[in-house]
């Protein structure tokens, strides 16, 4: 299986029979039950699912933030499921960028400095100013998060994720806290960045229309995951939710 996982250089991440069960006290909550999936390199993938389906859980697992209860998560020839904390941290540091629903910027750092939080620990980062320019915020680099609108904050967050030049950028509900228009801007930005920089992007959302942007769509339900590919991709301006 291990050979199989690393065999195809086009596959960035592969999950094999991933289970996740939360235990709080005596109560066991099974969330993921045998997930198999592949994220292809350079593609924009969307994971769709109803609220509570386990999207964030899955994203955390492939993002190296959490570990599956059972199963394998292969990335760059390593099984994340068996990595210890130190190596998981190393994985997040080198291979992963995150965009959060609520941006999660450090409130006491400026836009530029927030990007620098990522570039300072990366191996081969972009120039942070360049990253801000990519998201169209080079004129806001010295603003603090509180001085930015929600959409601008999310763009800083995207710049922060991209600036590391990561293998994969994970976005958990990147438009969840934004109005429709601003959301479209952010999605447009993500698709353009995917095309321009060739970054692998995984977007998690419960808003089905977003899936039209993706190369690949993964539907997460209680029963498992099903993958489809879009033959024609819409552009962000066309979709609404």
């Amino acid at each position: 299986m291990g050979n199989n996982a690393t065999a195809d250089p086009d596959i960035a991440i592969r999950c094999v029979d991933v289970h996740k069960t939360y235990c709080s006290g005596d109560v066991e909550t099974p969330v993921l039950r045998g997930i198999d999936l592949e994220i292809r390199r350079g593609e924009l993938s969307v994971i769709l699912g109803a609220s509570g389906a386990g999207k964030s859980t899955l994203l955390n697992i492939i993002g190296g933030i959490d570990r599956p209860t059972r199963g394998e998560v292969w990335c760059e020839g390593r099984n994340l499921a068996v990595l210890d904390d130190r190596h998981l941290t190393e994985y997040r540091r080198r291979s992963v960028g995150f965009v959060f629903q609520f941006y999660n910027l450090v409130p006491t750092l400026t836009a530029l400095e927030n990007v620098e939080t990522a570039t300072q620990i990366a191996d081969d980062p972009m120039d942070p100013a360049e990253a801000l320019r990519l998201v169209g915020l080079d004129d806001r680099r010295d603003h603090f998060p509180a001085q930015l609108s929600g959409g601008q904050q999310q763009r800083v967050s995207i710049a922060r994720a991209l600036a590391k030049n990561p293998l994969v950028v994970f976005c958990d509900e990147p438009t969840g806290a934004l109005d429709a228009n601003t959301g479209r801007h952010v999605l447009d930005l993500l698709t353009r960045l995917n095309e321009q920089t060739g970054a692998t992007i995984v977007i998690v959302t419960h808003a089905a229309p977003v899936a039209q942007l993706a190369h690949a769509v993964l539907h997460l339900t209680m029963n498992g995951i099903t993958a489809t590919r879009n033959t024609r991709r819409a552009c962000a301006a066309e979709i609404s939710w």
Binding site: I65, F100, N104, V106, T108, L109, T117, I121
Partner: protein
């Protein structure tokens, strides 16, 4: 990590109010440590240098008369390294324009300057010329108090003969770092001095050719470890020459007082920093736990970005380290100033040639290290909570704050009756148990500090009042050099303005029980005495038993005696035959190792009748009568000393109460820092945590004052609770501090008057209210709209 460093700096600025509170507490703790310990070191090194410089004796022997031919045999005693014989005599000084006879101690010194045991350090003038005829060197404190300088004349009454001497020098000696007149408790530099004469001249005027009545000596290093057997041998060897007292250095008055003071200082130097640094650690803990909660998402994000625990740990622990460092730096500065003040204070208290404030790098390094240890201890909980945080967990919204009912709400009836505001306050207190606990502890310790400070003052006042209102009831205490007969009493009664005179018969004696011995005196008191009343610490008077001895309990314990036991009495008066005397009763006195007996009983024992060594006088004098009274006394050839009790009292009050009172202000300041630091820190944290809630109240139409009142209730509950706990704690601290001053000779009573309690509680509440005012101001200038629109 320059970005994290920048973040740290901004976090610091944002939390500056709260951090300043912690920094202040740390700073005061370090100031207490550095200030008190530096003072202790200053005093200790000044003492050691001074003792070495003057070659201070290891023992003192007072005796009647020792022919110098007998000295060799004493010198030969195993353990005696070196010996100096000298002459010593109480003197009366007649100062121009001063009606009362001033007393002092005359000591002989070699005519030519050689380093001797108990040497002098000259601070002005010169040594004696040739054989020193009619020349005197005067102790510095006395010379200063009376404005005397070299060249001035000085009239001394020696053996009833007046002589006018010329002052050649002013000097000090390690023997009298703390010079207390006989029978006194505190120094009285204006009324008691030491006067040094050249040996040949002293022998001449005292009629002691080829003899001595005082020995000072040094022991071999081995004997110094266990001086008792050597002193025992010494006393036996010297017995034929009438030994009054053999005093080891440990029990010498001046050294004893210095040691007691140093002991008290080191206790404070340990206790105060411990209190402050503990409170600072507790407060910092609260602050860091708050930071952990506040930065939950930031930490989760940084972790998701790939920051490892080590980086985050060192990032957040720096908050504690910086607090510790800033606090320590301020503390070092404050401590140095405190030490300068305290050292100056002790310069007025003790006489040293060079007591100065110095820097002790080792101490400072230790203080910084200690500050860091406590700061890190205080931060580590919060930092651990931060690093333990799982990134997946941190991303999720924090668990809802403990809502739910608190324990108190189970008493539904009572709960409803306390009203809305109190319900709010109580809920908030119970939901933040750790923070509330820290608030209570800080208030308790702050209060304890106030209570023990006021208690210390009250105890000193009580001691002075007790001594002069209960024990020393005379207006004058007049002592004679030799015992007089009953005629002296009749004469004393005839002195101008005297209402009543009571005789005392004082017998220097050694008390022996098995292998315990004590050299002191037995005081014979008449049954109808009203001015010499052996009194228990509780104020009850113990009557003089018709037979046997009444003994200070402290002494009975030292001699291993109980009521009904008998003790060997070896008097230095009368027939000087050893007597076996029963212990009839004990008295719990504050001071001294007093032994009393019935006047006639003691006379019979010794083989005297109606001998008078001293009289106590009650008077009602006009100023003219007073002058006449003194003039007549000065004419008495056997006068040893006259103590004006009112003056003694004023002097003691000045020394203890007034001087210590100024120390109290410093302590009150320290107490204030704890209250302010803890209250402000707690209130500011909860203000930030609840700004959205408070903003909501404001939007609903509550006034600033009403919002502040919610806080006031919380603050009051916490601090009144803390104050209540602090009262017994302070009392207990007072007992501990006073126990430090207890020694073989006296004890400090522990007393807090209602006024003392009142001031402690009043100040504590005042601090609480002032801190609350600051909180209210914060509330008044809070930006409500921002608070409402802000995302946590």
């Amino acid at each position: 990590m320059t970005i994290l460093a920048r973040k740290l700096r901004r976090d610091f600025v944002a939390a500056r109010g709260m951090l300043a509170a912690v920094v202040a507490i740390v700073a005061f703790g370090i100031a207490a440590l550095v200030g008190l310990q530096t003072t202790t070191n200053n005093l200790t090194s000044a003492r050691d240098a001074y003792y070495a410089q003057c070659r201070l004796a290891d023992f003192w022997v007072d005796l009647k008369k020792l022919p110098l031919s007998a000295l060799a045999a004493v010198q030969a005693i195993d353990g005696v390294a070196e010996l100096r014989s000298r002459l010593s005599r109480p003197v009366i000084v007649d100062l121009p324009g001063v009606s009362e006879p001033v007393s002092g101690l005359l000591l002989s010194m070699p005519a030519t300057r050689t380093p001797v045991i108990n040497d002098l350090v000259l601070t002005a003038g010169s040594w004696f010329s040739a054989d020193g005829e009619n020349e005197v060197i005067v102790s510095r404190a006395f010379a200063d108090a009376r404005g005397l300088s070299p060249g001035d004349p000085l009239r001394l009454t020696l053996d009833g003969q007046q002589r006018t001497l010329r002052i050649v020098g002013i000097g000090i000696s390690a023997e009298f770092v703390y010079l207390i007149p006989p029978g006194g408790i505190v120094p009285d530099p204006a009324n008691y001095g030491v006067f040094y004469l050249a040996r040949p001249f002293a022998e001449d005027v005292l009629g002691m050719d080829g003899a001595a009545n005082s020995l000072v000596g040094r022991l071999t290093p081995a004997a110094r470890q266990a001086p008792e057997p050597v002193l025992q041998a010494l006393a036996e060897q010297l017995h034929p020459f009438g030994v009054f007292a053999v005093t080891p250095l440990k029990q010498q008055d001046s050294n004893l007082n210095l040691t007691a003071e140093l002991g008290g200082l080191s206790t404070m130097a340990a206790m105060m920093p411990l209190i402050f640094l503990s409170v600072s650690a507790l407060v910092l803990n609260v602050l860091m736990m708050r930071l952990a909660a506040q930065q939950r998402v930031v930490v989760g994000t940084l972790k998701a970005l790939g920051y490892d625990n080590r980086a985050l740990f060192s990032h957040f622990i720096q908050v504690g380290v910086i607090v510790g460092l800033i606090g320590a730096a301020l503390g070092l500065l404050l401590g140095y100033l405190l030490a300068a003040g305290l050292t100056a204070f002790y310069q007025g208290f003790f006489t040293f040639p060079n007591l100065s404030n110095r820097l002790y790098p080792g101490l400072m390094a230790a203080a910084v290290a200690l500050a860091l240890v406590f700061a890190v201890l205080g931060s580590v909980n919060g930092v651990r909570a931060i690093t333990r945080l799982d990134p997946a967990e941190a991303m999720r919204p924090p668990p809802p704050p403990e809502g739910g009912a608190i324990v108190l709400e189970r008493w539904t009836g009572a709960w409803r009756r306390v009203g809305f505001y109190w319900q709010m306050a109580l809920r908030s207190l119970f939901r933040n148990r750790v923070r509330s606990g820290v608030g209570v502890v800080a208030a308790a310790l702050g209060t304890a500090l106030l209570v023990s400070t006021f208690g210390m003052l009250d105890s000193l006042k009580y001691m002075v009042q007790f001594q002069f209102d209960k024990v020393l009831l005379a207006d004058y205490a007049v002592s004679f050099r030799d015992d007089l007969d009953a005629g002296a009493l009749t004469e004393a009664r005839r002195l101008p303005g005297v209402l009543r005179a009571e005789p005392l018969f004082v017998v220097s004696a050694t008390l022996v029980n098995a292998n315990h011995r004590h050299r002191g005196a037995v005081v014979g008191v008449t049954p109808d005495a009203t001015m010499t009343l052996p009194t228990n610490t509780d104020g009850s008077v113990v009557p003089i038993p018709p037979q046997g001895l009444l003994m200070a309990r402290r002494l009975a314990e030292q001699l291993d005696l109980a009521v009904g036991d008998s003790v060997w009495l070896l008097p230095t008066k009368g027939l000087q035959t050893p007597l076996q005397v029963p212990v009839a009763d004990l008295v719990d006195s504050l001071f001294g190792l007093g032994v009393y007996a019935d006047y006639d009983y003691l006379n019979r024992l010794i083989g005297e009748s109606a001998a008078v060594s001293a009289v106590r006088l009650r008077t009602a004098q006009t100023p003219a009568e007073r002058t006449a009274f003194y003039t007549e006394l000065k004419r008495l050839p056997t006068l040893l000393s006259v103590q004006d009790m009112a003056e003694e009292r004023a002097n003691m009050w000045q020394t203890f109460v007034v001087k210590m009172g100024s120390m109290a202000y410093v302590m009150i300041l320290f107490g204030a820092v704890i209250f302010f630091g803890a209250i402000l820190n707690g209130a500011l944290i909860s203000l930030i945590e609840r700004q959205r809630e408070l903003a909501t109240y404001r939007v609903l139409g509550y006034r600033n004052g009403e919002v502040g009142a919610m806080y006031l209730r919380e603050t009051l509950v916490l601090n009144l609770g803390g104050i209540l706990l602090g009262l017994p704690l302070g009392w207990w601290m007072l007992l501990g501090m006073n126990a430090q001053y207890k020694n073989d000779l006296y004890m400090m009573p522990s007393v807090i008057t209602p006024a003392g309690w009142f001031w402690s509680i009043g100040l504590a509440i005042a601090f609480v209210l002032i801190a609350q005012l600051i909180v209210q101001r914060r509330i008044n200038c809070m930006h409500w709209n921002e608070a409402l629109s802000m995302k946590e």
